[in-house]
């Protein structure tokens, strides 16, 4: 399983009502690496990302077909439990969205949901909290104000917290949808650094509009256009020697 792809999709098609947003996606996402997802606005990056934790399904009018395999299991199989799936596949949003509760409760929110009452203890929680916050370099800054509202933190800290709260669940995949687009350049650099740092432990899939960010952060890169994958390769190959003319046009800023 170690060298098997983390996510394998075959001919994934998705409709919003009548509108087909994904037109046959075949993609293997390498385990433990950072894969960037780039493409012009509206090409379906967010839609594809949201297939992997099945959050698209909150709309009744969404229909998904094809095969989507995560860690060897088809996640659209009837026996798949959404709660278990989302525990394994975490998500970070475009706008930081800490919950309107304390910093501590934010980090432990998922942990508490998924740990039976009998196994929970103050000690275990403290440990999970500290290790999660340390992983995102917030422990030293926040350790004396863990009871403060998370929604009052600076955006950079909020976004890091949103990453931290995934960690106690030990996810295998983290999906990030333009995680830095609400941040200033300085905060962006810090969050990018963090993403690089936690890579390896997790498979990370990151959508970005920012070519420079895709180059800086990702190991592999996927270029999408109107619901299809045009090119997928190692990031340096894709940026230095794109195989497809459309990829070349896009990364040189000729459209999108």
């Amino acid at each position: 399983m170690a060298n098997q792809a983390s996510i394998e999709t075959r001919d994934v098609r998705l409709w919003y009502g009548e509108f087909q947003a994904l037109k046959g996606i075949d993609l293997d996402v390498s385990r433990g690496r950072i894969t960037g997802l780039i493409g012009p606005s509206g090409c379906g990056k967010t839609t594809l990302l949201r297939c992997f934790n099945r959050i698209n399904e909150r709309y009744d009018y969404v229909r998904t077909e094809g095969s989507l395999i995560i860690d060897g299991h088809n996640i659209y199989a009837p026996d798949v439990d959404l709660i278990e799936l989302r525990k394994r596949v975490g998500m970070v949003f475009q706008r930081p969205n800490p919950l309107p509760i304390s910093i501590r409760d934010n980090v432990l929110y998922g942990y508490r949901l998924h740990t039976p009452k009998a196994e929970r203890s103050r000690g275990a929680e403290d440990e999970a909290l500290e290790s999660a916050l340390k992983s995102v370099q917030l422990w030293d800054i926040l350790k004396d104000r863990l009871g403060d509202r998370a929604t009052r933190l600076q955006l950079e800290q909020q976004q890091k917290l949103c990453i931290a709260r995934l960690l106690p669940l030990k996810p295998s995949i983290i999906l990030m949808d333009e995680p830095c687009s609400a941040l200033d350049p300085d905060a962006t650099a810090k969050v990018e650094e963090l993403i690089r740092q936690i890579a390896g432990e997790f498979t990370i899939l990151i959508v970005t509009h920012n070519m420079a960010q895709a180059r800086r952060v990702s190991d592999e890169c996927v270029f999408m256009l109107i619901g299809e994958i045009v090119e997928h390769g190692r990031t340096e190959d894709l940026f230095i020697a794109p195989k497809d003319q459309r990829t070349a046009d896009y990364i040189e800023g000729r459209f999108g």
Binding site: D60, Y61, F93, N97, P98, Y109, G110, T151, C162, L169
Partner: protein
């Protein structure tokens, strides 16, 4: 003044900006006057009730039953009766209304059935209370055989207040940013866990405000209780929801229009007590809202 467009280089007002300023002043004046006009009757009513009714408000008036064909004594049974009615109707309407509001906002699929239900709720909120009264007689007093009782009257009031409780619950829930729900769902919370841990704590002030405002509305209604459970004259207190009871709104109607030789101050004093009760509820609701808002989290 031959000041051309291009010569106007400083930031002083031009005829056109002057015009916008004066229009703004006129608009502001009209809006202010409308607000003042709104407050006028409110103060007039309170002033009238206090000047005419205050003299009748005594311990006896508040704590004793009416006597001598309601021309003497007090309104104690009516106060207690009103409390029974709003208590029982609240106990029925609040849980059902809040649960229905949660279902409609958080679970109901987007389809024509849901749209029909929402439309029905909006329309039900506009049904006159006398129609609810007739419904109450037909449904609770006769069909369910509950007779004229506190239960029948309270159920009628509950039916009357439900639509607005549902609507205000939905509104309060909808005001919780959807980003919080996404965060919770993607951390593997079920819909219910999300509602319980995140959505409800952040909408409880709005929900309770809606409920309490409906309670005070129920306290003031006469028609829905008149044929379903409120008694004209019943000098002792109800023992259970199967009894009838007196009620302030009904009593006010009675002493103002139905019996002769009532002291002039009695109707005003009764109205004053009713108003005080309603205002107390509303202040309580405002206080609760302020308290919960202050604890709110984003």
């Amino acid at each position: 003044m031959s000041r051309g467009e291009t010569e106007h280089t400083d930031f002083s007002a031009t005829p056109m900006t002057e015009a916008s300023h004066s229009r703004q002043k006129i608009a502001r004046a009209f809006l202010g006057i409308a607000t003042a006009l709104l407050l006028l009757p409110l103060f007039a009513i309170i002033g009238l009730l206090v000047t005419h009714g205050m003299s009748a408000i005594t311990a006896e008036f508040l704590l004793e039953a009416p006597t001598a064909g309601m021309t003497a004594g007090g309104i104690y049974p009516a106060i207690i009766g009103t409390l029974w009615l709003i208590g029982v109707s609240l106990a029925v309407a609040a849980p059902i209304g809040i649960m229905a509001g949660i279902y409609l906002n958080e679970y109901a699929p987007e389809n024509w059935v849901t749209r029909m239900i929402n439309l029905a709720i909006v329309n039900l909120a506009g049904v006159p209370s006398i129609v609810h009264a007739l419904f109450g007689v037909g449904a609770f007093v006769l069909f369910l055989g509950l007779g004229t009782s506190i239960l029948s009257a309270s159920l009628t009031l509950a039916v009357m207040t439900l639509p607005v409780i549902i609507a205000s619950t939905k509104e309060a829930l909808a005001s919780v940013p959807v980003a919080f729900r996404h965060a919770s769902w993607t951390l593997g919370a079920s819909r219910w866990q999300t509602i319980w841990h995140i959505v409800l704590p952040n909408s409880v002030s709005g929900i309770l405000t809606g409920v309490i405002l409906q309670v005070s509305r129920a306290a003031g209604e006469t028609a829905p209780i008149m044929f379903t459970g409120a008694a004209f004259y019943l000098p002792f207190l109800p023992q259970s929801v199967q009894d009838q009871c007196m009620a302030l709104s009904m009593h006010l109607f009675t002493v103002s229009t139905q019996v002769p030789n009532v002291p002039e101050a009695f109707p005003y004093a009764t109205a004053l007590v009713l108003l005080t009760l309603v205002v107390t509820f509303n202040f309580f609701s405002i206080g609760l809202r302020t308290y919960l808002r202050a604890r709110r989290k984003w």
